[in-house]
Symmetry: C2
């Protein structure tokens, strides 16, 4: 089953990488949903895992620590391409991984570079991905 | 306080109307989040209330009946305009209201017109709206 899903997972991973910006939705302490635009810096793996850089002392990381289930909405209305990604987030602090995924343009947000303890990675592992494109719709279950 | 907020509410209502398509996020029976693209057909009131047409016998309406709290993500990465809308949804079946908001192009989805009992309105009343634009960011609390 996992083998059969691979081509479709690769397809949605490529869509997410191309769209780049998503609305990253967390559940707040008072049970609301809140989303903020985030770039994946094209760091989407072919198995669907998505990496984001974040400050450690942010509301987002607080919310993920309490409730790791998140939702990512990708939308490009002009090209009619939409993705709904439900997943679970892990906060990673490994310096080697941060160096591996680091991009020069991130210095705008994090001037002290990937070694800074206040820079963390958010790894979103998708569980259910739905997509709508001009070429068709689909649903991919990863678990 | 409500009076002071009015200009900003009007501004975000205009942004939502212009973007038109959002990812309409509901909480599923098993506690995940799921979003689908939906057009507001430019039916956003100046007080921020947003109207959507939907089939009555849809998964979306089932989910809203169980958990009326929803989230709307509006995104236009090319113009750098993003909105996060947390709100509560009411399912409305009033025929006069359906007729008032009806648009000819909805016949593509609902060929029997606004009188069809399977056509309902979803009225989203925002509680917290966050926005990011090239001209600046903001947070509007409606409750």
């Amino acid at each position: 089953m996992a083998e059969q899903q691979k081509p479709e997972v690769k397809k949605v991973a490529e869509l997410m990488r191309a769209l780049d910006f998503c609305m990253f939705t967390t559940v707040t302490a008072d049970g609301r949903m809140y989303a903020r635009p985030m770039s994946n810096n094209r760091k989407v793996e072919f198995d669907g895992d998505i990496w984001f850089f974040s400050g450690a002392d942010t509301r987002k990381v607080d919310e993920i620590s309490r409730e790791p289930r998140v939702h990512l909405s990708y939308a490009d209305p002009q090209r009619f391409c939409f993705l709904s990604v439900d997943g679970v987030t892990e906060v990673a602090t490994d310096v080697d991984k941060k160096r591996e995924l680091w991009l020069k343009e991130l210095e705008r947000w994090f001037p002290n570079g990937p070694e800074d303890a206040n820079v963390v990675l958010l790894k979103v592992r998708p569980s259910v991905i739905a997509y709508w494109t001009g070429d068709g719709d689909g649903l991919v279950t990863m678990e």
